[in-house]
């Protein structure tokens, strides 16, 4: 049985169990157990009705656990008599599950872990490997998160924005080990887009697709980071780009702009340029203006300064940079880049070295050190 295919069924199956009266935490455990059994037992071939099978097995596991719990506590099993009221249907269940796992009472890390398990159907071990922590630590993080949301009613309306933040965090984690979190984030966002017509869900999905399309070009075979301008555009995934552009255009047509749509529009303009020189920087600056207007985010202002540097020249870029807080992450790196473009390699080399010391990731530090080394070698002649 195809494991990703199986994992797609998880939210709906949890929904069925909750509707039959199971509490979320117990339903989630039961579905995980059923999933493990399915992966173990279905090696001979697929079942005709995997969803029906999962529901049956998960419900049985839930009842077994509930009975054990009941006999421990000497109280009656009342589950079947308390169905959850409210609108039904698998789409609603799936959406409710996203809301619950991204509930505002959870810290971002707990929300991420819970979403990957209860919506994504990943095992605790897989999540632990992806985040490079011991399995016991991740198990505790997940069970604490479940306790935190145990009082939340399953049919409460939630906030799409908190769900999008969680999915964005998962996507940005990229991939390490055998779980591709970026691909998983895309799958979960696609699934969310199928059950809600929110423009920003489409915006985030488009943004992810457009960035994911460039992944093969973003790192050299030796692991080196390749900046956008130097990427081999032949390596970009044109199918993902086309899909991202379609999703974005449909969202923009509804005329309810949000930050993810604006970011996706910028990514789409990059994707649209056959060479770095053909990039429509004037339009990109306009989209950054929108993004700054929508969010006031200082990082958006910083990126805008880079775009201004390309559209109107490095001096204009430096002028746009001048008003920003130098303590912003990557401020020094942007300053170094703009100084080099403005014809000041001495300052640029010094700033690149400084930016490398401030970098928070290894690929970024190595990239910035290489820039400094390149300029210093040039300066020595």
């Amino acid at each position: 049985m195809n494991e990703p295919l199986l994992r797609e069924l998880v939210p709906a199956v949890i929904g069925v169990l909750v509707r039959r009266g199971a509490d979320f935490a117990a339903a989630e455990d039961a579905v995980q157990d059923a999933l493990v059994e399915a992966v173990r037992g279905w090696q001979d071939g697929p079942l005709r009705d995997p969803k029906g099978w999962l529901i049956t097995v998960a419900w049985r596991k839930f009842l077994d656990a509930a009975r054990a719990e009941t006999s421990r506590r000497h109280r009656e099993l009342r589950v079947e008599s308390e169905p959850v009221p409210g609108p039904g249907g698998p789409a609603d269940d799936t959406l409710q599950l996203y809301f619950l796992c991204a509930h505002p009472s959870l810290t971002p890390a707990s929300a991420v872990a819970l979403t990957l398990r209860a919506v994504g159907g990943l095992t605790t071990r897989q999540i632990a490997q992806a985040y490079l922590v011991p399995e016991a630590t991740m198990a505790q993080r997940i069970s604490r998160a479940k306790r935190t949301v145990s009082g939340v009613r399953f049919n409460q309306p939630g906030d799409v924005a908190t769900v999008l933040r969680v999915l964005y965090l998962v996507f940005n984690e990229g991939y390490s080990g055998d779980v591709d979190l970026a691909a998983e984030a895309i799958r979960l966002t696609r699934q969310l887009a199928a059950v809600t017509r929110h423009e920003e869900v489409a915006g985030l999905l488009a943004l992810m697709l457009l960035h994911h399309a460039r992944r093969p070009a973003r790192t050299a075979p030796d692991g080196r980071l390749v900046p956008l301008a130097e990427q081999d555009r032949g390596l970009w995934n044109t199918r993902l780009i086309a899909e991202g552009v379609d999703v974005l255009q449909a969202a923009l047509a509804r005329d309810r702009l949000g930050e993810f749509q604006a970011q996706a529009a910028i990514a789409a303009l990059h994707a649209d340029a056959r060479t770095a020189e053909e990039t429509d920087w004037v339009q990109i600056v306009e989209w950054y203006d929108e993004l700054v207007r929508l969010t006031g985010n200082p990082v958006a202002r910083l990126n805008r300064a880079v775009a201004v540097g390309e559209a109107d020249g490095a001096r204009a870029g430096l002028a746009a940079l001048a008003g920003l807080d130098p303590a912003l992450p990557r401020h020094t790196a942007v300053a170094a880049y703009l100084h080099e473009r403005a014809g000041d390699p001495v300052t640029a080399a010094r700033l690149y070295a400084e930016a490398a010391r401030q970098a928070s990731s290894l690929p970024e530090r190595d990239h910035l050190t290489r820039q400094a080394a390149r300029l210093n070698a040039q300066l020595r002649g």
Partner: protein
Amino acid sequence: MMAKYLLLKHYRGAPAAVNDVPMDQWTPEELSAHVRYMADFAARLEGTGEFVDGQALSPEGTFVRYDGEGRPPVTDGPFAETKDLIAGWMVIDVETYERALELAGELSAAPGAGGKPIHEWLEVRPFMAHQHTVIE
């Protein structure tokens, strides 16, 4: 979002602790209380989903370096004059830098001589991320 920090404990190289009595001068009960505190601390962090790793190091180390093709590596030391000597570490995965400082503060309160907190200086070092943020 979660970030990993190394809490470093030094045999040598950190400023002197407030309760600066060498461990071999403690009573057996004080030693047991200290060991228990460390184990409880790690268990508690596992419970909060923040524990990654913890190890203690032997103070006796050897310096090693490459000595050319086909030759065995050169070893030297230990050097009594080496300023920095690591005693052990704990790796935590926490939501904020402030939380890392808070936990380091608690770890520094481990009991020592007289059952009083050692108040030793721990070094807090952020991990470099392996992964570059995907969205540029």
